[in-house]
Symmetry: C2
Subunit: 224 residues, 2 copies
Amino acid sequence: MENLSHSEENYLKEIFHLSAQSNDRVSTNHLADRLNAKASSITDMLRKLADKELVSYIKYKGCRLTDEGERIAVQIIRKHRLWETFLVKKLSFGWEEVHEVAEQLEHIDSEKLIDSLDHFLDYPKFDPHGDPIPNKDGQIEYRSSKLKLIDVGIKSRVEIVRVNEDSLSLLKFLEQQELTLGTVIEIMEKFPFDDSVRIKVNGERNINLSKKVIENISVKLLDE
Amino acid sequence: MENLSHSEENYLKEIFHLSAQSNDRVSTNHLADRLNAKASSITDMLRKLADKELVSYIKYKGCRLTDEGERIAVQIIRKHRLWETFLVKKLSFGWEEVHEVAEQLEHIDSEKLIDSLDHFLDYPKFDPHGDPIPNKDGQIEYRSSKLKLIDVGIKSRVEIVRVNEDSLSLLKFLEQQELTLGTVIEIMEKFPFDDSVRIKVNGERNINLSKKVIENISVKLLDE
DNA sequence: ACTATTTTTTAGACATGACTAAATATTTTA
DNA sequence: TAAAATATTTAGTCATGTCTAAAAAATAGT
Ligand SMILES: [Mn+2]
Ligand SMILES: [Mn+2]
Ligand SMILES: [Mn+2]
Ligand SMILES: [Mn+2]
């Protein structure tokens, strides 16, 4: 309901993401790191957001979203992921190109726009990176398991369902290797000395993947 | 090329529109009026834009866009009109609902986005109000004649090709009366005492239109 | 040509969001 | 548990974009 600045919205969104990982209060430095800002700037903004009752903020103890703050954060994430989906599905963007533009588009303020877009895209459940898209009411259908490729045992067959979108170069690499969502992978061999693995892709070709790669890919187990 | 604030972009756009009407320098007060800001704010901003060589500004004499300023203004207008077209054509917005959202979308900074959108829309020549959409190179195909409905003689048959988008209520009225782009009109009678007219719409029904309405509709003559 | 009116600029202020450097709290380590 | 290291806040500054009120310039009216 409130009218927030782009900056305020980015803070809420980032607090939501960090809370999801640790479920503890989010620390000032952690936020500073993610938002590419100085800790002092974070303190200032947390005060403002606390005044607006969008976060609970305790000096030296970090912050946490209020219900209202979380509601808003989820709506911004909804917009972000719907726009990313639009860019890939309708405008033929690559999955490594969409995040930057979505960072801008997520701040457009029009409920009618986003609901129309949702309809136009036929109510997609996941964005191009496999992250769930909150619905109009803010509900998020998380995947039942959060299995990472790095934790999969040898000889298991799995399907790629999500990749961490944070690294542009990872996305480019995966695209180039044709390791997109839906790709079926079998773990052929594990190399403990550097945590890399050898995999078979779509039952066809074998390739090696480094630890850095496989810890950023989420999969689901395929039963034989 | 430069990175401009939303505010700076809005100034450039408005200077462009006002220049198109008067082709004289644009006055501080005229801008203040259109931008809903005080004259002193305009002076401040014109100084800044002059520093960036986007306008030529002469104290007490008003301003005018430089070539670079005009280039940027046209690109913003291109974005605005393409987004309006997208909203109507793809998301089923009414023509009276699009301007407000386009005011936000026009500031999204991504050349790839706007060129993809242009392609997706199949390179439209006109926006939902009949205004020409500049192409990628900034070229604008203006209509050959700028005939307004108010200047059309009795018994002439004309087609609506453009409406002034500035008034929400006018757009709603025209929509409701089914006076949309492409509608064919014949002037049946003119009433000099209030400059209103009686017209026949699509050869079917007769209605009366006030001066306020007919001075905001542009038409093209249909030869018999 | 002088005065009145209108337009525009200047001066000074405020809100926002960010920064640096210094001070203070908290946590870690020995 | 006391010093060292780390994390966080405070104090003071800056840039941006806006405003009000007062001063100055341009224009209009007699
Ligand atoms: Mn993203
Ligand atoms: Mn994503
Ligand atoms: Mn418009
Ligand atoms: Mn328009």
